[in-house]
């Protein structure tokens, strides 16, 4: 077993990595002065993986919406003990989350890291689904879904995704619907589990003041699946047209002022690695320059009372889909939408100023450095980079390499009216 390492001289940090014989990737980043020790065990399986060929079968299967998230809940169930109790005995914090692309289980502790790690490795590999415990979970999940339904921020975002995408399962709510989760059975859960919770499809990242050798021994000893998966997992990709589903979507909820999400659907997709990271960072710089807190756009709309401090934006890029969302509250969301598009049109005419470009780069360099204060942030960010076939330490170098030309080109290609959707939640 070979231990590799990647160093960042600039950040004065190092990350070690190992691949076990069964294909599991293990990473460790030392953080000597931190009190917390943290581990996250993640599988490359999220809400978008809803059509696939189950392992050992030949026919493709479409599973109910929300099943990856349901599975996350149920993995905490064990025949004899309560996982929550076991972690509580160690004084640790345990949690899990499901996103569009991954399901992750994590703990943080201040003592007994090795016992915690043993527990994490054990329970994630030990599904225990019974008809009874699956039925019981449905009530809890229903309440979770109803809680999201009462969150207008979430609704406006989720509606925006459904406006951008015609077929792609990213438009489906991660938790599914009350109806879809009712059709989940223990058999289906096992199929999903056996297919996606394979060591070759998983990664374990540890951070803190940890004895890496000891930790590795625990992880290796705990592996139930010792054989490497021969072939990969067959995930069926739907064909997503370049066009958006619809340009505007509105809903009424009890809110005080209209909430909006303005989404740009990325059609330049289909690759990962440095190219994907480059596109992602380039788009972030572009959005900061055009719509950031120091932009003329922000200044004007703020003065006119069209946006407030809650205005913000983000670009998310994955191998087979990507989008930007600009979010906020406004008495006139349609006007904000118009002005956002205008800014993009002006860029193609006038270009971007050298001064704005340089300042924004400095800002993003600073943000990246400051983000490394949080070991939780590092863990989730690192796993994201790994799934995109890159490394967190590449960020600064990629950022340095971006030019004004890249930004202007990206603006022309991406920030267009034809791939832009407006989602509004209006007061009742």
């Amino acid at each position: 077993m070979e231990i590799n390492s990647i160093k960042s001289e600039k950040l004065n940090e190092v990350i070690f990595d190992v691949e076990l014989s069964n294909g599991l990737k293990v990473f460790y980043m030392p953080k000597r002065n931190y009190v917390k020790k943290y581990a996250i065990y993640s599988t490359n399986y999220g809400s978008i993986d809803n059509t696939f060929v189950p392992i050992g079968e030949e026919k493709e299967l479409i599973v109910p919406e929300g099943i990856a998230h349901f599975l996350e809940h149920k993995l905490f169930e064990e025949p004899d003990v309560s996982i929550f109790d076991e972690f509580a005995k160690l004084g640790s914090y345990v949690n899990a989350f499901t996103s569009n692309n991954q399901t992750a289980y994590l703990f943080s502790c201040v003592a007994e890291f090795e016992k915690n790690l043993e527990l994490l490795v054990e329970f994630v590999q030990n599904p225990y689904f019974t008809q009874e415990n699956v039925e019981k979970e449905k009530g809890i999940i229903e309440q979770e879904i109803r809680m999201y339904n009462d969150s207008p921020d979430w609704k406006v975002y989720s509606n925006c995704l459904s406006a951008m995408y015609v077929n792609h399962p990213v438009k489906i709510d991660i938790a599914g619907t009350v109806e879809s989760t009712r059709s989940i059975s223990k058999e289906l859960l096992y199929k999903c589990y056996n297919t996606f919770y394979n060591p070759g499809n998983m990664v374990l990242f540890m951070i803190g003041d940890i004895d890496f050798e000891k930790a590795l021994t625990i992880i290796e000893k705990g592996q139930k699946n010792v054989r490497k998966l021969d072939n990969g997992i067959t995930r069926i990709k739907v064909k997503e047209p370049e066009e958006i589903n619809k340009s505007i979507i509105e809903e009424k909820l009890s809110v005080s002022i209209p909430l909006f999400n303005i989404g740009f659907k990325d059609i330049d997709v289909g690759y990962d690695g440095e190219k994907l990271i480059g596109k992602e960072i380039c788009t972030s710089v572009l959005l900061e320059v055009l719509y950031g807190s120091s932009s003329a756009f922000f200044q004007e709309l703020y003065k006119e009372g069209l946006i407030n401090q809650n205005f913000g934006f983000q670009y998310l890029g994955y191998k087979d889909y990507g989008y930007a969302v600009l979010v906020g509250e406004s008495k006139a969301p349609k006007e904000v939408h118009k002005r956002i598009l205008q800014v993009a049109v002006n860029v193609s005419k006038k270009g971007i100023s050298e001064d704005d470009f340089k300042r924004t780069k400095r800002k993003l360099i600073g943000y990246h450095i400051t983000d490394l204060n949080s070991i939780d942030n590092i863990a989730t960010a690192h796993i994201n980079y790994y799934y995109k076939n890159s490394h967190i330490f590449n960020y600064l170098e990629v950022l340095e390499g971006i030019t004004i030309n890249d930004l202007e080109k990206r603006s022309r290609d991406f920030l267009n009216e034809k791939n832009c959707c407006l989602s509004i939640v209006n007061p009742k």
């Binding site: 979970e137 449905k138 009530g139 309440q143 109803r146 401090q309 300042r359 800002k363 450095i369």
Partner: protein, 425 residues
Amino acid sequence: MEYSRKEIGNGIGVSTIYMDKFKSNLITLSFIRPLLGEEASLNALVPAVLKRGTKNYSTYMDIQKKLEDLYGATLNLDVNKKGEKHIIRFSIEGPEGEYTGEANYLDKLFNLLLEVIYDPYIKDGVFLEEYVGQEKENLIRRIEGRINDKKQFAYERAIEEMCKGEKFSIYRFGDIESVKNIDNLSLYKHYNKILDTSPIEITIIGKTLDIDFEKALKDKIDMNRREILNIPRENISNKKQSGKSVIFEKMDISQGKLILGYRINIPYEDKLFDAFIVASEILGGGPNSKLFLNVREKESLAYYIHSQVLKYKSIMVVSSGIEKENYEKTKEIVKNQIDQMIRGDFTEEDIKDAKNSITTSIKALEDNNYSVADYYLSNAVSKENKSFVDYVNSINGVSREDIISSCQELRLDTIYFLTNEEEVK
């Protein structure tokens, strides 16, 4: 971690916290005000206007550009309640100079922070009317926007109803009527009152700490301000001042939000208070707590249910999201679980787990620079001198008897239910 605090003038405390693990410098400066109906909105509006412009950076855009130049330094201005104290906090954070090569970075950060606070953009001797007008609008929108986050709204409304007639019921941004009545002159007057009469607490955290605060501040303010406010300790009366004890509020929502407010009737200075912290953890602290097990895992009634302690007011709040038809059932389970706490019906294991969980959280605060700053600010505000280690030791020293005693005076004060129907059958 090395911590020290000194007074560098009348009513100006500086806490210096050396921690070499962070890659950033963080400086905060807080004004401590009493939480009062007549000034809550003014306190909230002052930082909102200050962030709009300074003497040298007259627009928001100019300030933002300056922050970007400083490698994406972030300037945060907020108002929060700590018990019945209203804290106006200004903070600035940016990456440590060794990673960016920026010289004298710390001084640059602190000078910008001071400029925002002490050198506002002034026209005709007062704040710019345009800035005041716009920020009044924004503040009104923010107060109206409380209904958007249903969980938080239910929680805040429950506190308002429970503490009706007490200062603690005042919302951190005040109320819409008060905001409307503010003009640029009255705001400017209040701003000066804040500068002249508030106790000031400064904290600095990081690897580099070499700022001469005294020297930097001397240029801005009188170090021997005369009239520093003495803000009294919160009243923790066990009697409901006024209002009803069961409130149903109607809103068009998908899931009911149930909040139960209890009076603990032990002041935080009392030795027994930490025992109650342990009690609340056993009851509703985490996923192995009594409430979580019984309401969620056994009965599948809720996705979330937890209890929390509001230290300065000696209040415990139980929050949950449930279907309206499960109102009685949930209430009953919570009541039974609390009765079990009072009777001492919990195991040694429960105590050990709860202590372990609390002390883990306390220790883990050290990994977040904002949490460390806030911890020491709280200490300064409540005139306590409790290190992380002291706090951990105190929790570990709690006995079973202490926990039972600490629950004896616990009284249900207010039930608040936010639901889509007025009456619950």
